[in-house]
C-alpha cells in the first residue's frame, strides 16, 4: 500500500532567506530522486521553520516496479556463426545480464535480425530506496552560505541536530554523516519540552502543531497576519502592510504571536519615514496608522516566538524602541544644526568612484548638466541633492537618502521645487516605481544617471553578464523611462555628450567621446530592446531602432507606436513583404539616380509615378515625426502598385543598364521608407 514519506532535517536557527530558498528547492530535489528510482509518488510538499527543513511526499509506492524489458544485442552475423554456433559477442551479451546463451533469441527489426534477451529485475522495497535518497539529500540543499561546525567537515546552512525519516509509520533505517535517521523530532524551543515522537509521516504536521511548531510557512503567515490585524484594531488603528516584514517575520518564528507595544507620542515629531525605518530596519516591527488621517500611531507590532508573558515582552521591546528612537531623534536634532548647503563641501571627501573623483565633483557636473537639460534651478537642486549623504540619520539609515534631504530642506525653508527634487531625483527606484513629476526633478534625475553612465564607461566599467556593480543597466532604464513618460523631453545622444564634456575638464583619464559614443549607443539600444520589446515585440523595435538616430526617445517611441498601429492595417502584410523583397534585392544597388526614360510603361512606371507623387509629403511627415501620416500615405498609395510591380516586372534582366536602373528605383523607394523603420527587419 502506498504511504506518505517524511524527511525532516533539524537544525539550529536558519536565517529566513536560507529557509525560503531551501524550501523552494526541496520538492524538485526529492521528486527527481524518486522519479530516477522509479518509485511512484504523489505530491511533494516542503515544510519548514527556522529550526527544520522538511519534505512530505504523499502516496509513495511500497516498491519500485519489477522490470521486464527486451534488450537488443549484436546483429545475427556478429552473434552467431552460420551454423548457429554462438560467437564471443553473443556470450558476452548474455553474461552481461547474468543469463545463459540459451536465453538469447533472435528478433527481426527494420535493420535485420538481432540477438535479444529479456532482462528482468525485481523491484526494490521503497524503504531501502528511500534510505539512499534521504542520505543523499542534505548536501544537495542549496544555501546562500554554508558553514562547518565542531570538529567535522560537514557543511550546511547551520549545524544539523537530528534527522527524522519515516515511510508511513516505519523509520527509514539509515544515516547521514553519522546522524541516524529516526522518528524523534523537537517541538518549539521554549514552548515544548523534550523530544517529540512523530508517529507517522501523515501525522507530522498535526503532531508538531501540538508541540507549538507550525511547520507550514503559509499557515504561519496566515495566522500571523490575522493576529497583526486584530492587534492593530486593538490599538485603534490599521496595519501598514509590509510584505518584506511578513515574509521575514514568518521565517523567524516557529509559532507566531503578536505583541502590541507602544512608544511615547513625543517621538511622532520625527518624520514618519524615520520612525518606520527604525522599527522596520532595526527591530522588524510593523507600524500602525490611524485609519482616517493615515497618520502614524504611537504603537507598533512585534512578532514574537513566544508569548507566555506578553506584557513583559512588550515592556522589553518598548525599552529597546525608546532607545532607538532617542538615538534617531538625536541624529535628526544634530543634523538640523547644519544647513544642507553647509554640508556640500564635505561631499568632496566622499569617493564617488576611485577614478571618477568625489561626490562633490559629481554634483557639480550634475548641476551643469541639469541646467543644460532645461531646468533653470538645476544647479541649486543638484548641489543639495546629495547633501544628506553626510547627515547622521542617512549614515544610520541609507534608505532614507533623499527623503531626509527633502525634510531638512523643507524645514530650512528652501524652495519647494528644489526640496522635491532632492527627494525625487532618486526616482524611479525600481521597475514599477513612479518617475519624477517636475521638470526640475526629472532633469536632476537624468543628470545623475547620465553622469554615472558616461563616467563608468569612460573608465572602462562596462556591465558584463551578471556584473554590473554601479547598476548601470538600471540607471539607463531610469533615464529611458523618465524621458519617455516624464515632463522633460531630451536629446539622448546630446545629453550623454554633454555629460562627457563635464568630465573632460575634471578627469583626464576619461576616454574621448568619439570612442565612448558608439559603445554607449549600443548599450542604450540594448536596454531599449528590453524596455520596448516587452510591449511591442522585438522585431518591431529592431526595425525602428535601425531607423532611429539615437537622439529623441519620444521620436523612437512614436515610430514604434506608429508601426505597431500600422501592423494592424489590412495593407500591412503585403506591403511589408514587398518592401522586404525590394530591400533584399536592391540594397546593394549601384549608386546614381533613377533614369526615368528607361522605365517601362505599365507596372514599373506606375510604381515610380505613385512613389514620386507621395514622396515629398512622406518625407515631410517623416521629418516632422508624424509617422502615422507617412505610413497612411504608403498604405493608400503604394500597396497596389508595388504588388503589381512584383507580379509583372522581372528585375534581374540581362540588360545591365535596365537592371541597374530597376535596382536603383527599388532602392530609392526602400530607402525612403527606411527613414521610418527598416521593414526588412520585421519578422514573419
Amino acid at each position: 500500500m502506498a504511504q506518505d514519506v517524511l524527511i525532516e532535517i533539524g537544525t539550529e536557527e536558519l536565517p529566513a532567506g536560507f529557509v525560503n530558498r531551501a524550501l523552494e528547492a526541496l520538492p524538485k530535489l526529492v521528486v527527481d530522486a524518486l522519479d530516477a528510482a522509479r518509485l511512484t509518488h504523489g505530491d511533494a510538499i516542503a515544510l519548514g521553520t527556522p529550526r527544520r527543513l522538511a519534505i512530505l511526499v504523499k502516496d509513495v509506492a511500497e516498491r519500485t516496479p519489477d522490470v521486464e524489458e527486451e534488450v537488443l544485442g549484436p546483429p545475427r552475423s556478429a552473434a552467431f556463426e552460420a551454423d548457429g554456433k554462438p560467437k564471443k559477442a553473443a556470450e558476452g551479451f548474455a553474461r552481461k545480464f547474468g543469463l545463459q546463451i540459451s536465453d538469447v533469441r533472435m528478433v527481426k527489426t527494420d535493420k535485420g535480425e538481432y540477438a535479444a534477451v529479456t532482462r528482468r529485475e525485481k523491484g526494490r522495497a521503497a524503504i531501502v530506496v528511500l534510505a539512499e535518497i534521504a542520505a543523499a539529500l542534505p548536501p544537495r540543499i542549496p544555501f546562500q552560505k554554508s558553514m562547518r561546525w565542531g570538529d567535522g567537515d560537514l557543511a550546511f546552512g547551520r549545524p544539523i541536530h537530528w534527522i527524522v525519516a519515516l515511510f508511513g509509520d516505519a523509520i527509514i533505517e539509515g544515516s547521514f554523516a553519522g546522524i541516524p535517521f529516526g522518528r524523534t523530532s523537537r517541538g518549539h524551543r521554549f514552548l515544548s519540552k523534550g523530544a517529540v515522537e512523530i508517529p507517522s509521516a501523515s501525522r507530522y504536521v498535526d503532531t508538531l502543531r501540538e508541540a507549538h511548531v507550525v511547520v507550514d510557512e503559509a499557515e504561519r503567515r496566515t495566522r500571523m497576519v490575522a493576529a497583526l490585524h486584530a492587534a492593530s484594531q486593538r490599538a485603534g488603528g490599521e496595519l501598514i502592510d509590509d510584505d518584506f516584514l511578513v515574509v521575514e517575520n514568518a521565517s523567524l518564528v516557529e509559532e507566531p504571536f503578536v505583541v502590541l507595544g507602544s512608544f511615547e507620542e513625543r517621538f511622532l515629531e520625527l518624520p514618519e519615514e524615520v520612525i518606520v525605518a527604525v522599527m522596520r530596519g532595526h527591530q522588524r516591527y510593523f507600524a500602525v496608522r490611524d485609519p482616517k488621517t493615515k497618520k502614524l500611531l504611537p504603537s507598533y507590532l512585534c512578532v514574537a516566538n513566544t508569548a507566555i508573558d506578553p506584557a513583559r515582552i512588550a515592556k522589553g521591546n518598548d525599552r529597546v524602541l525608546r532607545a532607538r528612537l532617542s538615538d534617531a531623534r538625536f541624529f535628526v536634532e544634530e543634523d538640523r544644526k547644519k544647513t544642507l548647503a553647509s554640508r556640500v563641501p564635505r561631499l568632496d571627501g566622499i569617493v564617488f568612484q576611485a577614478k571618477l573623483g568625489s561626490v562633490g565633483d559629481k554634483v557639480r557636473r550634475m548641476g551643469a548638466l541639469a541646467e543644460a537639460l532645461g531646468a533653470p534651478q538645476g544647479r541649486d537642486a543638484a548641489m543639495l541633492a546629495k547633501a544628506d549623504l553626510v547627515s547622521l540619520i542617512v549614515g544610520e539609515f541609507p534608505e532614507l537618502q533623499g527623503i531626509m534631504g527633502r525634510w531638512y530642506g523643507a524645514h530650512e525653508g528652501l524652495d519647494a521645487g528644489v526640496v522635491d527634487a532632492i527627494r525625487d531625483h532618486y526616482l524611479p527606484k525600481g521597475a514599477g516605481d513612479a518617475i519624477p513629476s517636475s521638470v526640475l526633478s526629472a532633469a536632476v534625475a537624468i543628470a545623475d544617471r547620465a553622469d554615472t553612465l558616461v563616467g563608468c564607461f569612460g573608465v572602462g566599467i562596462v556591465p558584463t553578464g551578471s556584473q554590473d556593480p554601479f547598476a548601470l543597466r538600471r540607471a539607463t532604464l531610469g533615464i529611458l523611462r523618465i524621458a519617455l513618460e516624464g515632463p522633460l523631453e531630451i536629446d539622448f545622444g546630446h545629453t550623454l555628450e554633454q555629460a562627457h564634456a563635464g568630465y573632460v575638464e575634471q578627469i583626464k583619464s576619461v576616454a574621448p567621446y568619439a570612442e565612448l559614443g558608439p559603445k554607449l549607443d549600443e548599450f542604450i539600444r540594448a536596454r531599449l530592446r528590453v524596455l520596448l520589446g516587452e510591449l511591442h515585440g522585438g522585431d518591431l523595435v529592431e526595425a525602428c531602432l535601425a531607423a532611429w538616430d539615437g537622439r529623441s526617445l519620444r521620436d523612437l517611441d512614436r515610430r514604434v507606436r506608429a508601426l505597431a498601429a500600422f501592423k494592424k492595417d489590412v495593407a500591412f502584410e503585403s506591403l511589408a513583404i514587398a518592401f522586404k523583397r525590394a530591400w533584399n534585392i536592391a540594397k546593394d544597388a549601384p549608386s546614381g539616380s533613377v533614369d526615368e526614360a528607361r522605365l517601362e510603361p505599365g507596372a514599373e512606371k506606375d510604381l515610380w509615378d505613385s512613389f514620386a507623387r507621395i514622396r515629398t509629403a512622406m518625407e515631410d511627415h517623416t521629418s516632422r515625426g508624424d509617422y502615422p501620416a507617412a505610413l497612411a500615405l504608403v498604405a493608400a498609395e503604394l500597396r497596389a502598385p508595388i504588388d503589381r510591380y512584383f507580379t509583372d516586372v522581372f528585375v534581374m534582366v540581362d540588360d545591365l543598364a535596365v537592371r541597374e536602373n530597376r535596382l536603383r528605383m527599388l532602392r530609392t523607394i526602400a530607402s525612403t521608407l527606411n527613414r521610418i523603420a527598416h521593414f526588412h527587419l520585421l519578422g514573419g
Binding site: 536557527e13 527556522p50 561546525w149 565542531g150 570538529d151 567535522g152 554523516a177 512585534c302 516566538n305 532617542s326
Partner: protein
C-alpha cells in the same frame, strides 16, 4: 528574578558558570582592543587544530562611540564577556540559554531569538556565521562560528559567544541609563553606580579622542608599530607571485609572534583614535585598514606555522570523537578571529 544582579555580580556569575563548564577563566588583554575578539585568546587561538575553551571579560574601546558621558546608551569603553569553545559543541545554544538562567532570566518567559548575523573581514580572509541573540527585541549577545581566520580554515571550528554586559545589566536592573546601573557595593555598604566609576572617564576620554589626542603622534605610532611588527616577524616587503607573504626565515620559532600581534593591536587603536579625531580622509581610511590587515595576516600565518613547529602542544588533550562536532570534546580550548580594526563588528555596549 529576585533581586537584580549588580554589574559585578553579572560578571562573577558568568565566570562561575563557564568555569564550571570547563572554560579557563583568563584576564582581559592589557592593551586597547575594540572587542573581545581581539584578545589573542580568541584571535590567535581560533587558528589551528588545538582545542581551547576560555572565558574572559574584555573592556573594549571604540573611540568614535564616545558621547562625553551624555548618551545613556553609548560609551567609548564598554565591557564584553567573551566565551570561546573550540571545537564548538553541538549543545552550544543550550549552554548559552543555561547561562541566561544562571543570571536569573527564564528564557521561557521572554521572546528569545537567534537572528542571522554574520561576521566578515574579507581582505583578512576572516569570516564566520552566526547570530545576534535578541531578548525581547534587545540584542544581548553575539554568536559566531568561526570559519576562516587569516585565510586559514578554522578546523575545528571555534564557537564565539559575546555578551554585551552593559545591555544585559540594564535589562536585568530595569534601567534606561547605563550610568544609573548598580556596579556593586562600596566600602560603606552603599551601592556604587556605573556612573560613579565611568562617567568622568567617559568625558575625559571623549574629550581626548575627539579633541585633544595628538594626531601627529598617533600617525607616528601607527607607522612605527607597523614597522616593528614587520621586523619582529621578518616579514618581507614584497609578496611572492600569487600574493603569498614572504618571511626572512622559514623557521617560525624565530618570529616573535605575540609581540608582533601586540603591534597589530596598537596600530588598530591608533587608527581608531585618528578616525575619531577626524584626521583620516575617506581614501586614506581604506589604506590604513589595508595596512592593518596586511600585518594581521602575517601574524596569523606565523602563529599557525609556529604552533605547527611546536607540534600543536594542546592538541590531543581531548581527542575529537563524534562525527559532527561532538559535545564533550569541545571542553578544552579556544581562540578566535577578530577584525583588525575595531570598527567593523556590531556595537555591543549598553
Amino acid at each position: 528574578m529576585t533581586t537584580a544582579l549588580t554589574f559585578q555580580d553579572l560578571i562573577l556569575r558568568l565566570q562561575a558558570f563557564w568555569a564550571e563548564r570547563g572554560c579557563l577563566i583568563v584576564q582581559p588583554y592589557n592593551s586597547e582592543v575594540g572587542a573581545g575578539t581581539f584578545n589573542p585568546n580568541t584571535f590567535l587561538r581560533a587558528i589551528g587544530p588545538e582545542p581551547w575553551n576560555v572565558a574572559y571579560v574584555e573592556p573594549s574601546r571604540r573611540p568614535s562611540d564616545g558621547r562625553y558621558g551624555e548618551n545613556p546608551n553609548r560609551l567609548q569603553q564598554f565591557h564584553q564577556f567573551q566565551v570561546i569553545l573550540k571545537p564548538s559543541p553541538l549543545e552550544i545554544q543550550e549552554l548559552y540559554l543555561d547561562s541566561l538562567r544562571a543570571l536569573g532570566t527564564d528564557p521561557e518567559k521572554h521572546d528569545i531569538r537567534f537572528i542571522e548575523d554574520d561576521w566578515e573581514s574579507p581582505t583578512l580572509g576572516a569570516w564566520g556565521l552566526g547570530w545576534q541573540v535578541w531578548l525581547d527585541g534587545l540584542e544581548i549577545s553575539q554568536f559566531t562560528y568561526f570559519q576562516q581566520v587569516g585565510g586559514i580554515d578554522c578546523k575545528p571550528v571555534a564557537g564565539e559567544l559575546t555578551y554585551g554586559l552593559e545591555r544585559i545589566a540594564m535589562y536585568l536592573q530595569d534601567k534606561d541609563d547605563v550610568y544609573s546601573l548598580a556596579w556593586g557595593t562600596g566600602v560603606d555598604g552603599r551601592s556604587v553606580s556605573y556612573g560613579e566609576l565611568a562617567k568622568r572617564s567617559e568625558w575625559e576620554w571623549s574629550t581626548y579622542n575627539f579633541e585633544r589626542a595628538d594626531t601627529d603622534m598617533h600617525v607616528r605610532h601607527f607607522d612605527e608599530y607597523e614597522a616593528q611588527c614587520g621586523k619582529l616577524l621578518g616579514l618581507q616587503k614584497e609578496k611572492a607571485k600569487g600574493g603569498a607573504l614572504q618571511f626572512e626565515s622559514d623557521d617560525a620559532k624565530t618570529r616573535l609572534v605575540l609581540p608582533a600581534y601586540d603591534c597589530v593591536v596598537k596600530c588598530s587603536h591608533a587608527f581608531n583614535v585618528l578616525d575619531a579625531r577626524g584626521a583620516i580622509s575617506v581614501t586614506e581610511r581604506q589604506r590604513y585598514i589595508a595596512r592593518v590587515r596586511h600585518i594581521a595576516r602575517a601574524v596569523c600565518e606565523s602563529w599557525y606555522a609556529q604552533r605547527e613547529a611546536l607540534g600543536f602542544p594542546l592538541a590531543g588533550v581531548l581527542a575529537p570523537e563524534g562525527p559532527h562536532g561532538s559535545a564533550r570534546s569541545a571542553r578544552t580550548g579556544g581562540a578566535g578571529a577578530g577584525e583588525p580594526i575595531n570598527v567593523p563588528k556590531k556595537k555591543k555596549e549598553g
